[in-house]
Amino acid sequence: MGGAVKRRVCLAGALCASLLLAACAPYPVVPTDPALPRSRELVDTPFFPQEQYQCGPAALATVLNSAGAGVSPEQVQPLVYLPGNKGSLQAEMLAAPVHYGYLAVPLPPSLDSLLQELSDGRPVLVLQNLGVAMLPLWHYAVVIGYDLDRQLVYLRSGRDRRKVYDIRRFLKTWSRAGHWALVAVRPGEIPVSATAQAYLQAASALERRQRPQAALQAYRAGTRRWPEQALLWAASGNAAYSLARYAEAEAAYRTALSLQPGKPAIMNNLALALARQDCRQTALEVLACAARAAPANPVIDDTLLEIKAMPPGTGGCRAFDCPVPGVGRRP
């Protein structure tokens, strides 16, 4: 009887010990996407050894060159480096590629997106905190490959052409920087793991830098990938409008409104696109509808003045059904 109890205690002890051991053993890092290849390395990624404090420009030049832009870290430096802070800020790293007509798209903060981009052939610029939370040491590097079987990632980093990281250790330094990552793409190309929102933000930078042609190309690609996103259609309309392609702008705004009926900002822009095509009557109807959705709004009042200053239309324009319930139609 006593022996049996003793044996049970022993068994339980052994079980506990083995559980503890299991908990301590390095558990392999496994991405959730089963379609990812086991390993990939983008060996052709260019390398720019970093000068003092210049990891930002070096990393940015690396991903820009991979995307097709021929720029050097020296050219990028005055666009991102902040001498007083001895470093480069994330917002400016995202904004700078637009000066070369490229998009910088931030990725969802996950290992899966990182590996998906790599397996799709795109090196990923990451922010790492090489220090600890109390004593941060911010560093930009470019991940160029991974090997799940050997649990490694490869980086272009600082003065190392090929820095090899244990994947766990890399993930620690990356998570201390909020898993922040970006990829650079040319207009019309969309990173595989990007969200519609992040992509739209990135593409809008092209429009801001007065590159409507490139912006339109980027938005159009966006509407093909995410046809259900009203804002992408509206943005596409804006870019077409600024290129004086009013019929195209009208069509895009109408699609946006079919997805988000009654949105006053989009109706406001649709009214302008109609007025530019000599459809003043329809334009005024659309604007009246916008005014019903957003009463006494200065933006709509401005638009009304602008449209009234345009020559009256000749008619023959596609009608607009106002989805906003209100106090009856205005003439």
Binding site: C55, N85, K86, V132, W138, G158, R169, R209, N268
Partner: protein, 130 residues
């Protein structure tokens, strides 16, 4: 409060010619994509405030050693949300710089952390954890 408002107004008046080079849409009635992204439902332009914030951040860049010509370019590439992110936080945001040229004292602490295995900065230190 009042003086800060005055300062803003003066800045606005002085910089009108500068402002005209960015941020204002060429068509006054258009709601720009930036504005579409900012608002969720409400229709509000608030372009004036946006421009003042941009001027603030531009000054901050110049104070931190950026060439004024480039400061102008850099501000023009930022979205309203990014301008907002920088304004007032420019010195607390992470500024990625790398490990080339850090101070000796910091270096020592980091070497110890590296040996213990908390960090992984120096390739010549092999941490025990794996």
């Amino acid at each position: 409060m009042k003086s800060s408002l005055m300062k803003r107004i003066v800045v606005l008046l002085v910089s009108v010619s500068f402002f005209s080079t960015y941020s204002l849409p060429a068509w006054s009635g258009m709601v720009t994509t930036d504005q579409l992204l900012q608002q969720s439902g409400a229709l509000d332009k608030s372009a004036l405030l946006g421009m003042l914030d941009r001027e603030d951040v531009r000054q901050q860049l110049i104070e931190r050693g950026v060439d004024p010509q480039y400061a102008k370019l850099r501000i023009a590439a930022l979205s309203d949300a990014q301008v907002e992110e920088l304004r007032g936080h420019i010195d607390t945001l992470p500024a990625g710089s790398g490990i080339v040229g850090i101070m000796i004292a910091v270096l020592l602490v980091l070497i110890i952390l590296d040996i213990v295995g908390v960090t992984n900065i120096f390739s010549f230190i092999n941490s025990p954890a794996k």
